[in-house]
């Protein structure tokens, strides 16, 4: 195996809070590696430590076999970073920004090529302040690519974007993946992680709680099928008659979910129970488990709360 990033026992404290609490992982050459978790889980802190923006309290990091904590200057040449917030001179033009950033590096790609890659060729003369949110984000990703980096870090690249803009970013990442680029991305969108990432680390409260391919995570969690429903009135004996039932805690009352492999049996028991007690089943849905459910089953919480 050819690890391009090796992180071990990373720790970062803010006062009494362990924002990152013993995180270890490695990323292989050509891999799209996702770090998934809710807000405040420590995703951004973790990547910002690797990028050299923050100093850890403990741990070690190697990027391309270089000690990132000892030689941050060398690492900068090798990585490309898109930060969560767009942070650029507001009246710089697209092409100017790419050329300027390119000039900071020993090795850089022509801005024309980058604009092609992030579909901003038509906006080359537009100032940053005139770009839409999606275009700004694409420029931000483009700036991460100017030095043709060994590793590309994308920090929540689609947060706050509309679906169209999100898909544009996804196709850029898919393109990078096909070209064998190594990408480390954080996200709290499950679909994004499932679609883009070869491998995922699920992080919660500063710790990695699971790490595997998206498919394996779902299979291992052994959740198979999820039945969700609401009932019109409170019903005694629900928990006794339907094994594995959980109350969904998101404010609305009488909403339940069941994870099961015996779908038909559960449905039969559920409908009978409701029918006998003159209670109506509402908003019933039956679907395959997703990473969202994996997260829920591991932490007891939803990803976006």
């Amino acid at each position: 195996m050819n690890s391009i990033i090796e992180v071990s026992n990373l720790e970062k404290k803010y006062g009494d809070i362990n924002a990152v609490n013993g995180v270890s992982f490695s990323v292989e050459q050509g891999e799209v590696f996702g770090i998934l978790g809710p807000n405040g889980a420590g995703k951004t802190t973790t990547v910002e430590i690797i990028e050299g923006l923050r100093k850890p309290n403990a741990g070690s990091i190697k990027v391309c076999n270089i000690d990132a904590l000892k030689e941050p200057q060398r690492i900068k040449e090798l990585i490309g970073v898109q930060l969560q917030a767009t942070s650029l001179y507001d009246n710089i033009r697209v092409k100017e920004a790419l050329d300027l950033f390119g000039s900071y590096y020993q090795k850089s790609l022509p801005s024309e090529q980058i604009m092609e890659e992030v579909s901003l060729t038509e906006k080359k003369h537009s100032q940053v302040s005139k770009l839409s949110g999606g275009q700004k984000q694409r420029l931000s990703v483009g700036l991460a690519l100017v030095n043709d980096p060994e590793v590309i870090f994308l920090d929540e690249p689609t947060t706050g974007l509309d679906p169209q803009a999100r898909h544009n970013i996804w196709s850029i990442v898919e393109n990078l993946r096909e070209r064998g680029k190594t990408v480390v991305m954080t996200t709290h969108y499950m679909e994004e992680a499932e679609q883009l990432c070869h491998r995922l680390a699920i992080i919660d409260r500063g710790k990695i709680i699971a790490m595997d391919t998206p498919d394996n995570l779902i299979n291992k969690a052994d959740l198979s099928t999820l039945i969700e429903f609401s009932i019109s009135k409170e019903l005694d004996g629900l928990a006794k008659n339907i094994p594995g039932i959980c109350k969904v805690n998101n404010g609305s009352a009488r909403k339940y979910s069941v994870q099961t492999k015996a779908v038909s049996m559960i449905l039969k028991d559920l409908t009978n129970l409701c029918y006998d007690n003159h209670i109506e089943l509402e908003n019933i849905s039956v679907r395959q488990a997703t990473l969202e459910d994996v997260f829920l089953s591991m932490t007891g919480r939803k990803l976006r709360e």
């Binding site: 900068k76 970073v81 001179y89 710089i92």
Partner: protein, 247 residues
């Protein structure tokens, strides 16, 4: 070196693109000289050998240098810091000395342009006539520009957000302007206040410039004034090292 030039050129280009800021930076001092020149330009203050307008011109040059050196340095930096630009740049190999150097250089070039414009306007509108050692004039100006820019940078360390920037910068700027002998000589102030105000860099720069352009002063005549400005630069450097923040 190459990087410094590239970065400076880009910052200059972005400055020239902000038309309103460009206009006010250049026009504000010009408006002042036209206004005050029209009000009391040809009169003479008690005990002065030169006309008021002759006194005013170097004063307004100092004012222009403060607009750029203090106000633009400080607000520009705080704004870009708040926008996260320095955080983003920290991820690139661009080193921070080059970044600061390019800002100093860009502001310095603007100060030179402002000064030349004011000299031209003064000559055309009021027949002001500057003589003396040109090299010493620009050396003095450079010292003043560097001094104001270091005040600007020192201020950024004390300013938390852009919202709180305006009052802090304005107080500094107006203090240096009204007590610094910009519009009238400090000899017109109460004696104790005039003495106290004589340690201000704006007072020293204005006096040094007037000595050079009207009295043919040499470096031996103004070295004390340059030294006081140097002391301000040193003090601001100490403050900057202590309080300066990139994020």
């Amino acid at each position: 070196m190459n990087m410094l030039i590239k970065q400076t050129r880009m910052q200059m280009r972005l400055f020239l693109r902000r038309k309103d800021e460009l206009f006010w930076t250049m026009a504000f001092p010009v408006l002042f000289i036209l206004l005050f020149g029209a009000i009391y330009g040809n009169s003479k203050w008690n005990g002065m050998t030169i006309r008021s307008i002759d006194y005013l011109l170097p004063g307004i040059i100092v004012m222009g240098a403060m607009v750029t050196g203090i106000m633009r340095t400080a607000t520009g930096f705080v704004q870009e810091r708040e926008q996260g630009i320095y955080r983003r740049l920290a991820l690139t190999p661009l080193n921070r000395t080059t970044l600061i150097g390019s800002q100093l250089l860009q502001h310095y070039l603007v100060i030179i342009a402002q000064t030349l414009l004011l000299i031209a306007v003064g000559g055309l509108a009021f027949k002001t006539h500057l003589t003396g050692n040109t090299t010493l004039f620009w050396l003095t100006m450079s010292m003043g520009a560097l001094c104001f820019m270091s005040i600007g940078f020192a201020l950024t360390g004390m300013i938390k957000t852009l919202r709180s920037a305006t009052p802090i910068i304005q107080i500094t700027y107006f203090g240096l302007m009204f007590l610094g002998g910009i519009f009238f000589p400090n000899s017109l102030l109460p004696k104790w206040l005039g003495n106290a105000a004589s340690i201000l860099p704006s007072t020293q720069l204005g006096d040094a410039l007037r000595a050079v352009v009207y009295n043919g002063a040499g470096i031996g005549d103004i070295w004390q004034k340059l030294a006081i400005m140097g002391a301000w630069i040193a003090a601001c450097l100490v403050i900057s090292i202590r309080f300066f923040r990139w994020e």
